[in-house]
C-alpha cells in the first residue's frame, strides 16, 4: 500500500524555454499523475515560494531561487555542468533522467548526495501489431483438413498477438470461427496466381502449414520471400537447406508453442518498459520529495531509479573521473563551451596562480561576469 506524504504541494516550474517541447509534456504529465495520486500539484513558469517542493523542468540556470529539485537531461557541455554544480551547491537535488548522466555528473564532482535519477515514461498507447500468419491450400479439402487444427490452435492464442491471412479456396468456415474468437482474418484471395503470391506472401510474418506430405502450396514462395516457415518436416521441404524455420507436428499444443516462441522477443521488449508509466514516474518523484522532507514513503515500483538511486554510491574510480573529464571537455558545441574546454585543458598544465587568473579571464570573456 502506498503511503502518501501529507499536505504536500508540488509546484512544477516549467521554464519558458521548454514550452512546446517534449519537456513541457513531462511537466504536464507529472502534474496530472500527481493529482491522481492525491497530491496538490501546480505548473507555472516561475517558482512558488509557498509550495512544499519546487521542481524545475528545463532552463536550470544557476540564478534560480526556490530550487528544491530539478530535472537534468542532455548535459553535453561544460556550461550546463557548471550550472548544475551551482544549483546543487545551493541545496537543489538533481533528478537525472538516466543512471549514466547521474554517474557522469558524480564523476565530474557534483556531490553524489545531490544526485539521483528517474527514468522517463511512455504514454502506453502504442501496442505491438499482431503477427501475420499466412496459410495456403490448394483445395477446399486440404483447407478443411487444416481448419479443425487451426481452430484448436487459435483457441490457445491471444487475438491481439496474431492475425491470419489465407490464400486459396475452402477457408470460409475456419475464417468465421477465427473471427468469432476476435482474430483479424483476411481470406479474400481465393485463387492462386503468381501475382497474388508476389503481393501477399512477402508480408507474412510467418508461413504456417500443418499439411503432411508434399502438398504445401505457398511454401516455396514464402521461403523465396524470406518468410520464416512453420511446417511439417517432410518431402522436398527437407531438401532446401535452412528453409524450415521451425518444424512442427500436427499437434495444437506444439504449434501454439512454436507461434508463441516467434513473438517472444517482442514480448520481452514490451515487458522491459511495461512499468515505465507516467504514474510510476510521478510516484518515484513523490517518494524522492517525501524523503527529502523526512516524510514517510513507500517505494512500490522496485526499480533501480527513484529513491533507490539516492543511496550512497561506491567510491569514484580514477577512470570514471577521467571519462567524465574527457566527456565534458571534448564536446564543444558553442564558443562558450569551447572557451571552457580550452581553459580547462590548458589550466591543468599551468601553475595554480596562472590557472586562477585564466579562469577569471575566461569567465569575464565568455560569461560576462
Amino acid at each position: 500500500m502506498k503511503i502518501l506524504p501529507p499536505l504536500l504541494h508540488i509546484h512544477i516550474v516549467c521554464h519558458d524555454g521548454v514550452i512546446g517541447w517534449i519537456l513541457e509534456k513531462f511537466a504536464v504529465n507529472l502534474a496530472r499523475e500527481l493529482s491522481l495520486l492525491g497530491v496538490r500539484s501546480t505548473v507555472g513558469p516561475g517558482a512558488d515560494p509557498v509550495a512544499d517542493i519546487n521542481h524545475h523542468i528545463g532552463g536550470y540556470s544557476g540564478e534560480q531561487k526556490h530550487v528544491d529539485t530539478f530535472m537534468v537531461t542532455h548535459v553535453d557541455s561544460l556550461k550546463k555542468l557548471h550550472r548544475i554544480r551551482r544549483l546543487t551547491r545551493a541545496a537543489g537535488l538533481a533528478i537525472c533522467m538516466s543512471r549514466e548522466t547521474m554517474e557522469r555528473l558524480h564523476a565530474a564532482d557534483v556531490p553524489r548526495r545531490r544526485l539521483c535519477f528517474v527514468n522517463p515514461a511512455h504514454d502506453g498507447v502504442i501496442q505491438p501489431r499482431p503477427l501475420r500468419v499466412g496459410m495456403a491450400s490448394s483445395s477446399a479439402a486440404d483447407a478443411a483438413g487444416q481448419a479443425a487444427l487451426l481452430v484448436d490452435v487459435a483457441a490457445q492464442l491471444a487475438p491481439g498477438d496474431f492475425c491470419f491471412q489465407m490464400v486459396g479456396p475452402g477457408w470460409k468456415e475456419v475464417s468465421s470461427s477465427l473471427r468469432s474468437r476476435g482474430f483479424a482474418v483476411d481470406d479474400s484471395q481465393r485463387e492462386f496466381s503468381g501475382e497474388s503470391y508476389a503481393k501477399i506472401v512477402p508480408f507474412f510474418d510467418l508461413y504456417l502449414s500443418t499439411s503432411e506430405g508434399e502438398n504445401t502450396p505457398g511454401f516455396l514462395e514464402a521461403v523465396a520471400a524470406g518468410v520464416p516457415s512453420l511446417v511439417t518436416a517432410e518431402g522436398y521441404r527437407l531438401d532446401a537447406a535452412g528453409a524450415i524455420s521451425c518444424a512442427i507436428r500436427a499437434d495444437p499444443a506444439h504449434i501454439v508453442a512454436a507461434l508463441n516462441r516467434a513473438q517472444l522477443d517482442r514480448q520481452r521488449r514490451r515487458a522491459a518498459v511495461a512499468s515505465w508509466t507516467w504514474a510510476a514516474y510521478a510516484q518515484k518523484h513523490l517518494d524522492i520529495w517525501a524523503r527529502l522532507r523526512g516524510q514517510p514513503f513507500a517505494s512500490t515500483h522496485g526499480g533501480p531509479d527513484g529513491v533507490a538511486s539516492m543511496a550512497e554510491a561506491a567510491p569514484l574510480r580514477r577512470r570514471d573521473r577521467v571519462a567524465a573529464f574527457a566527456y565534458f571537455h571534448t564536446r564543444p558545441l558553442t564558443w562558450v563551451d569551447y572557451g571552457w574546454t580550452v581553459s580547462a585543458i590548458a589550466g591543468r598544465a599551468l601553475p595554480r596562480p596562472v590557472r586562477r587568473s585564466l579562469k577569471s579571464l575566461v569567465k569575464r570573456w565568455f560569461l560576462g561576469r
Partner: protein, 290 residues
C-alpha cells in the same frame, strides 16, 4: 525431342496443377516440342506423366512422383515404376520411402519443384521518430552515410519529425523509398511504429522517447548505447557506439542475412532449372533406349 505431357482427366493435381503448363512453356523456350494430353501418345519420344496422386491407364516413360505417404499412393507409384516408368521424385524423402518399399534406386530420379520467382523478400522498414535540432545533436547526417552502405532493394525508411527534408532528399537520391511525416502526431505514431522492423536512433542526447514507444510496440531497436537507453534491460537490440555507420550497417545486414539465406535456399528452384533437369533425364533415357 518430342515430349508428351500427360495430365489426368479426373483427380486432383493439387498444387501441381500448373506444372504441366509451366513445363510445356519452358520446354518450348528450350526448343523442345512439348504437347499436353490425357493419355500417352505413341509417336512421342517421351511420355511424361504428371498425375499428382492420380494414376494413369497407359504406360509412360517418366512420371512425377509425390506424396507417397499413404499406402494407396505408394502402391500407385510402385505400380507405375514397375510398368517401366522412371519415377521422378520431388524430394529425397519420397525417394527414400520408395527405396524402403523396394524400388531400385536406378528406377528413380530427383527433381525438386519450382516456384514462380515472383515473391521476393519485402523491404525491411527502418523507422525514425525524432525531430532534428540546429546544433546537430540528432546526428541526422549519419543516416545518409548509413544508407550509402545499404541496398535499397532490401530496406526502406519511415521518418516522423521535422528537419529531415534534406536527409530524405539525399536518401531518396540513392534509390531508397522514404515515407516522411513532417509533423509529429501521436495518432500517426500509433499506426506506424508497430510496423517498423527496426527503430533507429542516432542522437547522443541521453535518449529518445521514441525508443520507449518502439519497445512498447515490441520493435527491435538500433540505438545509441547511452542515457536511459542503457537503463532498459534488454531494450537495445543492436547498440550504436563508437563507429555508428559501420555498427548500424552491420546490424541491419545481419538482420537481413537470415532472410536472404532462407531465400537463397530455393533461389535455383526455378522453372527453367526444373525443365532443364527433366530434359537431361530424358536425354539420358533416350540414349539408353535401343
Amino acid at each position: 525431342m518430342n515430349v508428351h505431357i500427360i495430365r489426368p482427366v479426373h483427380g486432383d493435381l493439387g498444387p501441381w496443377v500448373s506444372v504441366p503448363l509451366m513445363l510445356q512453356e519452358h520446354l518450348s523456350e528450350l526448343g523442345v516440342k512439348a504437347t499436353l494430353g490425357t493419355v500417352p501418345h505413341g509417336a512421342a519420344d517421351i511420355n511424361h506423366l504428371i498425375a499428382g496422386t492420380a494414376g494413369c491407364d497407359g504406360d509412360v516413360d517418366t512420371a512425377l512422383i509425390t506424396d507417397v505417404g499413404s499406402a494407396d499412393a505408394l502402391v500407385r507409384a510402385i505400380a507405375l515404376i514397375e510398368r517401366g516408368a522412371l519415377g521422378i521424385c520431388l524430394s529425397r524423402d519420397t525417394q527414400e520411402r520408395l527405396r524402403i518399399a523396394g524400388v531400385p534406386p536406378a528406377k528413380m530420379a530427383l527433381v525438386h519443384p519450382a516456384h514462380d520467382g515472383l515473391a521476393r523478400p519485402r523491404q525491411l522498414r527502418i523507422g525514425v521518430t525524432s525531430k532534428t535540432f540546429g546544433d546537430g545533436r540528432k546526428r541526422e547526417n549519419l543516416l545518409v552515410k548509413v544508407a550509402a552502405q545499404l541496398d535499397p532493394r532490401h530496406f526502406s525508411f519511415e521518418i516522423m519529425g521535422t528537419g529531415w527534408a534534406e536527409v530524405v532528399r539525399k536518401i531518396e537520391r540513392r534509390g531508397f523509398s522514404v515515407l516522411h511525416h513532417e509533423q509529429f502526431s501521436l495518432e500517426k505514431c500509433r499506426s506506424i511504429v508497430p510496423h517498423f522492423d527496426f527503430y533507429l536512433y542516432l542522437g547522443r542526447d541521453e535518449g529518445s522517447m521514441g525508443f520507449l514507444d518502439a519497445l512498447a510496440a515490441g520493435v527491435a531497436t538500433i540505438v545509441t548505447a547511452q542515457g536511459f537507453h542503457l537503463d532498459v534491460p534488454g531494450g537495445i537490440t543492436w547498440p550504436v557506439d563508437a563507429d555508428p555507420v559501420r555498427e548500424i550497417a552491420a546490424a541491419l545486414m545481419e538482420a537481413n542475412r537470415e532472410r536472404l539465406r532462407r531465400s537463397a535456399a530455393v533461389a535455383d528452384w526455378t522453372w527453367p532449372s526444373y525443365t532443364r533437369r527433366h530434359l537431361e533425364l530424358w536425354t539420358a533415357l533416350l540414349a539408353e533406349m535401343p
